[in-house]
Assembly symmetry: C2
């Protein structure tokens, strides 16, 4: 009887240590996934900010100043900071990439330590959700202005400008797509953190 009890205790100890090993392995996988997603979010939002932040194009447009005289060729520039939606987009993406860099460094420094506990996970979820909100609002703003530039609108008599500034519009579209991918990375980060909290309960 005593022997059987001892053998059962041994089995339970074995299972517990196996469970602990699986948990540590899971935590490591989550940590690696988080780091990769933060690197991705950092790279994409930084790229989006740079691609739109360096965006400019000059086009020579013939303008008729006086009737009867030949039109004057004037160089018309298109710059990202001419539109407040684009300024907001660049600022938000720069802030998001800086946050991604800081949070990546902190998550690597605290990996496995006490600070990577559920309390810090809660703060990280909050900050990640704030980034999701800011990024999506900037994507909406830049996307709406970009689409207006591409399509124009006859009701408000805003003419399309992308037929003249094609390269500028193309570069803005690339920046919006990059930022959208970066924002999706942040959504995944929120889900990963929530899943990590959930796993701690179910284990």
């Amino acid at each position: 009887m005593e022997n059987q009890k001892g053998s059962n205790d041994g089995k339970i100890d074995g299972l517990e240590s196996r469970g602990r090993e699986v948990m540590v392995a899971n935590q490591r996988t989550t940590g690696t996934c988080e780091s990769l997603l933060r690197i991705l979010a950092l790279a994409l939002t930084l790229a989006a900010a740079i691609v739109l932040g360096v965006n400019k194009q000059s086009k020579v447009v013939p303008i008729k100043l006086v009737e009867g005289l030949p039109p004057l060729n004037v160089s018309v520039p298109a710059k990202w900071h001419y539109l407040s939606a684009f300024v907001y987009f660049v600022v938000v993406n720069a802030v998001a990439s800086a946050y991604a860099a800081v949070s990546l460094v902190l998550s690597l420094a605290n990996r496995g330590g006490k600070s990577s506990s559920s309390s810090s996970r809660l703060v990280v979820i909050f900050l990640d959700v704030i980034m999701v909100s800011l990024l999506f609002s900037s994507i909406g703003a830049a996307g709406a202005i970009g689409l207006m530039g591409r399509e124009g609108n006859k009701h408000v008599q805003w003419k399309k400008v992308c037929n003249t500034f094609g390269k500028f519009c193309g570069q803005a579209a690339v920046a919006v797509i990059l930022s959208l991918l970066g924002s999706i990375a942040f959504v995944f980060l929120v889900m990963l953190s929530a899943r990590s909290l959930h796993k701690k309960i179910t284990k």
Copy 2:
């Protein structure tokens, strides 16, 4: 000795039952907070969709068709569906309010039951984050177009229209503010769910 052990066991039982009571009370408070936030999110996003969805204004504008003749008074309408950003805003807010209604009913039905477990909480967090993303992108789009209508932009030669359609622009601004408050309610819902998971670990 036997008596002392019994008294200790009684104390532990008392503490455990007290702890369980506190946990149940906390869960109830979280449930009430969640319901209130969902009602708020539902009301605000629905109001935003309606306020912009019924938005229209007609203005009589004098237009000179032929030189030398007096200008012709033409009634020019401004309707929400003339601008794709506003259509996107109304659709997203309608979807978000429908989701808030369904999730409210489900959360009330499952209150305290097995389905209000940590697994369903994870799904709710995911859907709430999707709503945050959609809502903020629609706020960004409608906000950027609204601001362009109010300020105009000399670089792209888009003239401001809000000096003519003041009531229309004012109503659009109210819709954007209502939706912003609704989106913040969704952000709080994500945080509440995450906190609820966190509490289950620390207890």
